[in-house]
């Protein structure tokens, strides 16, 4: 097992998680490759995300709009903003091809907004493109374990 690579990708992904929990959205946007996609599918067995309905299928433009919606103060579901703390663990490098490392990990996220505490659990699968001594996110796939159930509004970035 390549422990050095595992440490490297874990540190990168933890940093991403910390940025999202603490609202550092400009820094978060800069982690992405230009053509990177942020995807939250519905069907756990789906692989053709582009041609199916997802909860989110964001390119760079949509990520910018999503951030703007969170901080713009125009949306009653995002202000007051939800507080979130996410824990990531169980990192596993699934492979590396053409400078793209695929990593899967577990995410447990707690959300508190107004008077409700919620819990979302997901498998995250990152495709990280090597960029100097760091990475750019080429794809972040968020597979909620309850994606096929009824959800309530999620006014933050998973």
């Amino acid at each position: 097992m390549n422990i050095e690579l595992l440490n490297h990708v874990s540190a990168f992904i933890w940093q991403e998680a910390d940025m999202l929990d603490h609202g550092e959205f400009d820094a978060w946007l800069n982690l992405w490759a230009d053509k990177g996609t942020y995807i939250i599918p519905i069907d756990p067995n789906e692989t053709d995300f582009e041609n199916t309905l997802n909860y989110a299928y964001d390119d760079h433009h949509m990520r910018q709009l999503r951030v703007q919606r969170l901080i713009g103060g125009e949306s009653i579901s995002t202000s007051p903003r939800a507080r979130t703390v996410r824990s990531l663990s169980r990192f596993r490098v699934l492979g590396e091809e053409d400078d793209v490392v695929t990593v899967r990990c577990a995410q447990n996220l707690r959300e508190f907004r107004k008077d409700v505490l919620k819990h979302y659990t997901a498998d995250l699968t990152f495709q990280l493109k090597r960029d100097g001594d760091s990475f750019r996110i080429q794809r972040k796939l968020i597979q909620l374990i309850n994606s096929t159930d009824t959800l309530a509004g999620i006014g933050y970035i998973l």
Binding site: D43, N51, Y57, L65, Q68, R69, I76, T78, G153
Partner: protein, 424 residues
């Protein structure tokens, strides 16, 4: 004007709770009324259960609910559609737990009773013990009355109510207009967003013909779209209208230019669709069909609200399901063109994701507003919900009544139907 009704007034009838310009707060909060609504509304009228494209083949099924009763919508070997209560006739277990799929039969997991696609009881394991005390012909899955209009499948528990087409009445021509967004390929349901909100089902019912909330609740959505789309959605001061179509149905026309998607095909293609149009041309699609697809790709310029549980809403089907007096489940089913060009269908999918669903730029704000209504309605239990907007300008129309685009005409129509059904 004061119309005070006691908080708990057993003598108040549903007719006392719905006036021509307002409804009583207890319609959102009274659990007894909710139970009565299940019986007198959801189990007494035509309720939408599926679009034909959701069960395309022999053996295709989906499971859903009518009111609080689980049902299976299934297409049999002869292509006939059945709506069956999802309850084994032996000891009551559900016979199907999948949301959709394909099967030859429904087998109860508890003792193995098996039913054919039309609901008839085919076999029971170890029948010896029943000797001659079990007549299989008497114990099929309970089958409801089913009728369809232009791909929309409805069911009812009542054998003696009017045919579906009579119930839909003036709404039928709007359904026909809505289906034009299939652009010649046909309308196909390609998945849905499902969510719940802590509020009464009628709060959502009202919202489908509520243009008044749009610029305020959906400000963040409007900030996220291009100039031309923004202009299109600036309809509150525009020439649109709301029309009461009878039987509780209504239509809100936000964008009159997009009522008939097959008209005006020779108009210039809007700039924001030029890239899509070129991609379609590059696939060898002829100019007329390119224009037809592009004109239909954002959906129809209206929301058709069908009492009590479904709406043909611009580019998707909105389905509501009452869970309790204070909880409602909503499905927003996305529409694509059946077998249409993938590039245009992707446009439709991304559009749906942009507004709808738990992470859309629209739905969560609606949901928040509805939640606030339910919460606020706990205060002042003797107060009324005001529905008098657009009354002064309301006029008779060919099909009913019509007023300006942000009039509460559609809500008044729905509540008059509610009153009629609840008083029966």
């Amino acid at each position: 004007m004061t119309n005070l009704i006691e908080t708990v007034n057993l003598a108040a009838t549903p007719a006392d709770l719905v006036l021509h310009d307002r409804v009583h707060t207890s319609l959102y909060t009274d659990a007894r009324l909710f139970d009565e609504e299940l019986e007198k509304v959801f189990y007494s009228t035509w309720v939408w259960v599926a679009h034909a494209s959701e069960i395309p083949d022999n053996g295709s099924y989906k499971s859903t609910y009518i009111g609080k009763q689980p049902v299976i919508v299934v297409r049999d070997r002869k292509k006939d559609v059945h709506v069956l209560l999802n309850r084994c006739r032996h000891r009551g277990a559900t016979v199907c737990e999948h949301k959709k799929g394909k099967t030859n039969s429904f087998v109860c997991p508890y003792h193995g009773w098996s039913y054919a696609l039309d609901g008839s009881l085919r076999g029971v394991p170890h029948p010896e013990s029943y000797a001659d005390c079990l007549d299989k012909g008497e114990l099929p899955l309970v089958s409801l009355r089913v009728e369809q209009y232009n791909g929309m499948i409805f069911a009812t528990f009542k054998d003696d109510i009017e045919p579906l087409e009579d119930f839909l009445g003036a709404a039928k021509k709007w359904i026909d207009l809505f289906m034009k967004q299939g652009a010649g390929y046909g309308v196909k349901v390609s998945g849905e967003h499902r969510f719940r909100f802590p509020g009464n089902w009628k709060i959502q019912l009202e919202n489908t013909t509520d243009a008044y909330h749009f610029p305020l609740v959906h400000k963040s959505f409007l900030s996220s779209v291009d100039e031309q789309t923004l202009e299109l959605f600036d309809f509150v001061k525009g020439p649109g209208y709301v029309e009461d179509l009878g039987n509780g149905h209504s239509v809100m026309v936000m964008i009159p230019d997009l009522v008939d998607l097959e008209a005006d095909l020779d108009k210039p293609i809007p700039e924001r669709f030029e890239t899509l149009a070129q991609e379609l041309r590059d696939e060898g699609i002829d100019e007329q069909q390119v224009r037809r697809i592009v004109r239909a790709v954002g959906g129809s310029g209206f929301n058709l609200n069908l009492f009590p549980n479904v709406a043909c809403s611009m580019a998707f089907f909105r389905v509501l399901q009452p869970v309790s007096v204070t909880e409602t489940e909503i499905h927003h089913a996305v529409i694509t063109m059946d077998g249409g060009p993938a590039v245009a269908n992707r446009y439709r999918l991304r559009l749906h994701e942009h507004f709808q669903g738990p992470m859309g730029f629209g739905t969560p704000d609606d949901s928040e507003a509805w939640e606030r209504v339910q919460k606020g309605a706990q205060a002042g239990s003797d107060l009324w919900i005001m529905l008098n907007r657009g009354l002064p300008g309301e006029k008779p129309s060919e099909d009913g009544l019509v007023s300006d685009v942000s009039a509460e005409t559609g809500m008044r129509a729905a509540y008059q139907q509610w009153k009629k059904m609840m008083s029966a």
